[in-house]
Symmetry: C2
Subunit: 185 residues, 2 copies
DNA sequence: ACTGTTCCAATACGTCTGTATCGTACTGAA
DNA sequence: TTCAGTACGATACAGACGTATTGGAACAGT
């Protein structure tokens, strides 16, 4: 699919030049296509950006589903949550790219309500899922608040790792420590 | 000071239009001055951006110092840390503006090493300060790791509040819960 | 009074942006 | 074979961008 090919080029350009440096011409050059072709598949730049974001969240959630299927006990809440959260941390080069693009869109969301709405939806779903799992297998606590803490922790550490302020291993250790506190060791 | 006046205009423009929308002409219009005058005080745009960032971090740390002076027990580590962290959360409109501008620069740092170096320095100082306070008044723990957790928590919740994913009160409650866990209630 | 410097406004220049437009292959149906 | 529609490439266009240039007040030093 051409749209997907363009979206992946957009990710790479965003990593190299950040969102503000991501122009139509740069994406087209990175994808090895003409600007005219991009206009054929995306009527406007925003349409392309939103597709690139959507395409990426889809890729991440598909991968999380794969991890779920690989679990020894697919119904264990702690291992499910662990698999889901770890899959979003920038632990290798591929996930680092995804995290970077995600952060770029997140800051964009602070200004542009269209992106904010999209990300808010995703956040809500993630939060609801975490609440469900915490209630199912966690120690007694305020599941809604703990879910927010988990998400903030993952986002904060992702940012920290990307900015070179701490290592991915530190992030992983902190998230796992929090999971131990929630679900038991 | 003219430079300060321009910097404050730059903050407002960044909040309204994000960093990519922050042009010389817009900042000049917001500050009520001519582009030529801005060029007189800042030879290039990057010079202006770096001054605006520096000026803002200075403002925040000055305000943190004021909070320290207002503490009943200025030497209590927990209340000091609490004051410092709370002062960076987007709890009111002024701090929301600062947090917003900080996030904008954070994405810039992903591409431009000058901004990355500046922010990394600030993070290192904040981390060192937290480690010191945790060691001084906290329960026995890995102070370095706990400091990273605190910073990630503040950053993650700041982002979440700005993107409309959770409320400032939730962020505050989570940070205070973490402080209770670290220092005792 | 002359001169140099600082402060600032106006404007011009070249580049980059998103997008509109035009032209041209190719495809499948009638 | 004709024709409509799709899938592009090439180019044009208007505007915004950062910055260089120019020129003129205001002021200081001599």
């Amino acid at each position: 699919m051409r749209r997907r090919q363009i979206a992946e080029a957009m990710w790479r350009v965003t990593v190299a030049r950040s969102l503000e440096g991501t122009s139509m011409r740069h994406v087209a050059a990175e994808a090895g296509v003409s600007v005219g072709m991009m206009q054929h598949y995306f009527r406007t730049k925003d349409e392309m950006l939103l597709f690139a974001l959507d395409s990426m969240t889809e890729q991440v959630s598909r991968r999380i589903g794969e991890r779920f299927a690989e679990l020894a006990d697919p119904d264990d809440p702690k291992h499910q949550v662990r698999a889901a959260l770890v899959e979003t941390l920038p632990l290798d080069e591929e996930r680092r790219l995804e995290a970077f693009v995600g952060c770029a869109f997140l800051t964009r969301a602070a200004v542009d309500t269209r992106f904010a709405d999209y990300l808010r939806d995703g956040h809500r779903q993630g939060h609801a899922y975490l609440v469900e799992q915490i209630n199912r297998g966690g120690r007694p606590c305020d599941a809604a608040e703990e879910a927010h803490v988990l998400l903030a922790l993952v986002n904060g550490f992702t940012l920290g790792v990307l900015a070179g302020q701490c290592t991915a291993q530190q992030a992983l250790a902190a998230v796992e420590a929090r999971l131990d506190a929630l679900f038991g060791p």
